[in-house]
Symmetry: D2
């Protein structure tokens, strides 16, 4: 099989496609022939992270669509020939987050899916929604499930509520689609008027160019008649949180998207709590949540927004595109 590996050093230029023997599925495992994969910002961060020098060669990517081509002993849950998506957390089947369930995330130092064949836990794959192409399915495991968990699971979004979204990356665009499917109103920010127009085409109700309007939190609140928005998906981190809190209604819900959030400067403590916000740290979700999301995608004929497609062989170019930050929606690798 051919596999993308970070080797020699960290950095995009050290990503190489190498030939390796195809792995065999063990007890409770399946081997999947990968047909498409997608990139998340986390993948770029890990490829460039100095601490990953200790883990080379490193196998990137968590999100894949593929077809089961072999099953190991004891596997009855899935059969050869089934089209599946990889689960970001192979051990998180159902229930709330725990350290054990969030262990061994794909593409985080152990198994990565950027290879033509990959062995996964039989429990760690989910049936692909039939309405989607392979490339679309590959967009779901991390970004879509993060947005779904934030809004539908932890936020229990209800028709008529208002959602504030930041930027037009993968998580925010999925959140836009899920929010509109659920009957909510969407306010979205970007530094690009062109991207805002594309978001409008996907159903966004209110557009704010945060370059032109650095007080976008106040603007968002004003758009709700002064009450404040019901939900914020905070993907920007310390730099944007103050505006997010300004936008949020008293008792509103804020999702802190762990994987995307930058660290650095902090958030004032009393500002954080004064508005009686409900805040959830969100790191992807469970297979059960993925399956519920799949039903929502099929029932509402939602199509993941793919901003760019690259051949697997051009993975370096895909990572550079992620780094440029100019994309809209997801970046996909076709195998």
């Amino acid at each position: 099989m051919r596999a993308l590996r970070l080797q020699g050093d960290v950095g995009i230029e050290h990503l190489e496609i190498v030939d390796l023997p195809a792995p065999e599925p063990g007890l409770g495992e399946v081997r999947v022939r990968v047909t498409a994969a997608s990139l998340n910002y986390r993948d770029l961060a890990l490829v460039e992270a100095p601490f990953n020098r200790d883990r080379l060669p490193f196998a990137p990517l968590s999100d894949a669509c593929g077809v089961v081509e072999a099953v190991g002993p004891g596997v009855t849950r899935v059969a050869v020939g089934e089209r599946v998506a990889s689960m970001f957390f192979p051990n998180w089947i159902a229930g709330g987050p725990t350290a054990e369930r969030q262990a061994n995330a794909l593409g985080g130092g152990g198994t990565g899916v950027a290879q033509t064949q990959v062995v996964l836990s039989a429990e760690g794959v989910a049936k692909a929604p039939a309405s989607l192409s392979d490339g679309e399915v590959a967009c779901l495991p991390c970004a879509a499930l993060t947005a779904w968990r934030a809004l539908a699971v932890e936020g229990q979004i209800t028709a008529g509520e208002t959602v504030l979204l930041q930027g037009t990356g993968g998580v925010s665009i999925f959140a836009l689609q899920f929010a509109k499917a659920a009957g909510a109103t969407v306010i979205i920010t970007s530094s690009s008027d062109e991207k805002l127009e594309r978001a409008k085409g996907l159903g966004a109700d209110h557009l704010i160019n945060y370059r032109a309007d650095p007080e976008w939190g106040r603007t968002a609140k004003r758009l709700t008649g002064g009450v404040g928005v019901d939900h914020v998906l905070e993907v920007g981190g310390a730099g944007t949180l103050p505006q997010s809190l300004r936008a949020l209604r008293v008792g509103g819900h804020l999702s802190g998207i762990g994987m995307l959030a930058g660290g650095g400067a902090g958030v004032d403590f009393s500002t954080l709590f004064r508005g009686n916000a409900r805040i959830h740290g969100i790191t992807v979700g469970s297979r059960e949540q993925f399956e519920a999301m799949g039903r929502a995608i099929e029932a509402n004929v939602l199509r993941p927004v793919i901003g760019e497609r690259f051949r697997f062989e051009d993975a370096q170019a895909a990572f550079r595109r992620m780094k440029a930050g100019e994309h809209f929606g997801k970046i996909v690798l076709d195998f």
Copy 2:
């Protein structure tokens, strides 16, 4: 003012429009000039109920739209000139149901809204959604709020779930609209193919003529791939509950709509609990829930479905239409 009163005896033919002195709003009260009202099945039941002979003259109807024309001492919450809806339970502002909050329902023996002017508690009215006409607003207080509470509040309906609805009366048609706005799939039953076609026009995904298919519960389950539906709005009572339970998935949600449900023969105990259903008895809802529903209606540009309109003066005809049971959606009185 002119007011509809049941007097002399129970029965539709004993409904009369009488002239009465216009009431003055007391402490914490407002006087509303009624512009439209709507009928619910409960109103018919009460007009015909033998036990109401003890409460004559009886003032029917709970659901009105109108304009505040006078406010009593101490009222700051609403102002003269505001367009409002009457609240079915004037004392239920927020929180869960309690005996106190569900006391003194309109049209239940005390105040009724079928009159040109009515005095209501200032807390017991809500701002009318701006996107709706007066007649449409008058459809909301009982039927719409019942459907909203069943699905959005107690059921926490999520995109991708499946809802089974019975018939095409007011509650079911509002539930159809709310379910579709929330991204759910709808299965609806009726004895009339023509009404099923109208429901399809409103977004219903699957239609079942229960005359042609008495095993409609099993059919509904099959339509979900054998898993069962996520939500049932049980409006038919003892006669339909067995099929509803057959349709429901393990752990699914069933709303028992108290006001509409007939009594009579019972439900087998073990059948009721075997599927680990979550069951909520539902009797309308709170003002806070009404306000959230209003936001959903405005955001999704939902329009209540008015099946029939009558002049206030023709109230008897409106009640007869309700009794015939041939209508689709709501029956409205225009003032």
Copy 3:
């Protein structure tokens, strides 16, 4: 190994202890040497059920404590030497109830634990609470978890709430202990003043002899100052539900315990829904819920109440004791 089997025909007298070859654990399985087991009413019902004639020989019992003595290939979750409890539903690890998760309950026609050695799924056992003896651990899998799920999970019981319990069988006595540990007030019924006194010794606040007081539902409501109780554990079925509903406050929570509930005559539909009750059908629970219950048992030093103990060899006598219905708490078999 020696194993209890129902063979020849249904009925307690057809329970026999037979010698069988010890089973070997397969992929993902463990073999447990059973040290204690407990009986539930369901076990009796299944031993006597005519439909079980088609499933003879039948292996009874779901609830055991034991020690892992061998593990099959691929098992890392538990190790030889660990003391464990059997899980009633071996496939229900976490999340809400589903048909799949509730399939293959122990003692229901497939594997039963009334044998000296039993092979179980490695996922279908949980660590035994260290504070309990083997006999006490054997009381937990069905009755305790049912009571825990009813009150702590679905009922989200809160300090200061009031719980109405029916009788002094296993589920009710566990519910009494969990309710008191959670700071709730307990009203309990029995036909025996002596049993009521024993319940008082375990913390019950109010005692009602339902023989002496057939209107016990009204009495329970009066004990709450006329508001009604917050929770009912309905274990009696159609015969007791009307009184339970009379006792319940508007918006209160009723748990219908599926396994114990008799069928037969039904419940009036409108009575069921009028009080806006929240009703959950309850059939045991998940391993995750069992583990949370175990923490509560250890933290509060709760000790399961064992009413009677029998040697494994005297299993027929234990079943006869269950049938007599005179016991208080659990009936345990020692191996």
Copy 4:
């Protein structure tokens, strides 16, 4: 009447008792003869806050017990002679927090209760738990309700869970009592071994002197077997939050107590969200929550811990005691 007022300037030394005409209750109001009041840290902060120079004379305190001695027109909810507690947020009756419901907190610039007679909204008082003395009732409105909402309402605390509490001020000591009543395990910190011993006497399971153990968050986690605590009541603010997050389990619940929290240095964004915490900003609670808390207090015979008592006339001394920060539990003023 005699009333405590901050006048001339901010600072404890500017608190004076003045004679003022007794106020008359207006529409929907009651006049309460105050028998006891309690101090919260917030009261000290407001007395010393420079921005309060614009609001002099300022009427301090929110927490009182008293007897209704007169009712205004339209008041039916309470009667003369009833013993009541003042509600911190007079407008927050039920439902979640909103800006409107959290407006006009007592002791925040409008009405304060440190006076022999005070006029309050009839909706803004609650029946005093009968099991408590006047001084004990006066401890409840702010500190107890904050702890109750954090644990019982937002945290849905369950028997067997573990709670980490910081220090021995009013909120933490109430949280200790509520947590123990609910069957939870409590870890508490203090800089004083003597206070830790007193906390042990109230039921605390684990004691940490944070002076001796600056890595107390890690210690708390170790005490849970490495899993982490289920709940933290964060009352210390930016200085303690990092240790709190270290102690919390993945998916654990953290209550940020708004009124007590200092501002200043911030919290690293990714640390905040990485553990998938559920975080609630908490500012006191609703009357409905107060009433539920009252039932828990009565059912579990909980007694508020009064650390110090002062005569109303010695209010300055009481504020100085609060400032010294050496107290344990609540500081009460007797009238």
